[in-house]
Symmetry: C2
């Protein structure tokens, strides 16, 4: 047995941890910046690795970003509440994610390019993994429209917090924001009778 084979398991584990760090860095950057503005160097710096290591593991920038274009994991956390309290939960989740971790579960969709595969993949994933998944939990008329409007309100909240940087929103505590905005999201999910 050579020293190299003795260390093979730790080395493999390090590679997986490094790949995860790279994906997380790319996801964080993509959640806040346009795809075209992100360089491999920026991903590498945030992940604490060298750019050639990213190329070694993922091939190139496009291949790396294809891996981070799913909304599945984000939607799991966003939608993780009973329907009756989901509007408030989603409102809190969007603001808390930005405030505490500097990411947003939905904001990547605003950077979807209007043309080309990258934008089309993001839009299709967003629809299947976020809006359609939410619509499937709703009852009553216009469920698809109401799901899109509820998600629209949440995307706008993320834009106002993270991009427009609304000073009142950023200075307000989570409960105040949830009290004011949660019922509006909820009204799409479970409209009052007769509306």
């Amino acid at each position: 047995m050579t020293p190299r084979s003795v260390t093979s398991t730790p080395v493999r584990r390090d590679a997986e941890a490094t790949k995860a760090a790279i994906l997380q860095a790319a996801r964080r950057l993509l959640a806040r910046h346009a795809h075209a503005d992100i360089t491999l160097k920026a991903v590498a710096e945030l992940a604490g690795v060298s750019p050639p290591l990213i190329v070694k593991y993922f091939g190139n920038k496009d291949a790396l970003f294809a891996r981070v274009m799913s909304f599945d994991t984000d939607a799991d956390a966003l939608l993780d509440a009973p329907l009756a309290g989901l509007g408030r939960h989603m409102t809190r989740h969007v603001v808390a994610s930005q405030r505490e971790r500097g990411v947003d579960p939905l904001l990547r969709i605003v950077f979807a390019p209007m043309h080309g595969d990258h934008g089309d993949i993001l839009r299709a994933n967003f629809r299947a993994q976020v809006t359609d998944r939410l619509a499937a939990r709703l009852t009553g008329p216009d469920a698809g429209l109401r799901a899109e409007l509820a998600v629209a309100a949440l995307v706008g909240l993320g834009v106002m917090y993270g991009i427009a940087r609304g000073p009142c929103l950023r200075a307000s505590d989570l409960d105040t924001i949830a009290d004011r905005y949660g019922p509006l999201v909820q009204a799409q999910l479970t409209p009052a009778p007769g509306t």
Copy 2:
């Protein structure tokens, strides 16, 4: 008098019309695309002029876009309704602008870069010309926060329509959308007593 001086007035008028066409083209592109993705060639094509003519009139791409970073004119139309019906008016205005003219009064803010002068100018203009202007019309507690939340809902609506391209939203008529979303925007402007 030379023939050149005889034609000086029409030439000057043509130049103004050409400049206006260039500004309109840049504004339309900036309302739907990231700044970094827009080329002078694309602006020139949409305006029906040559790229060197844009350089002659505006200097370069950055100088051109500095001219189109104001939200003033957009806010005039967006906010042009009595407060009691403003939520519905703004909801209709965002969807109608995208549907009928392919532009959005607010969507440029989502492409504001996180760093650098371009993003800072857009954010400052957005705040002064849209959210602060709306907040000045509101009474009651948390007026600044409520203005930001109302605008957030409208920005999100524009993202869902123009970027995520929600199929139910795009297939719905204006009144249906206004019926479902307008009251939510309105609830930020004129909250029910006790909220």
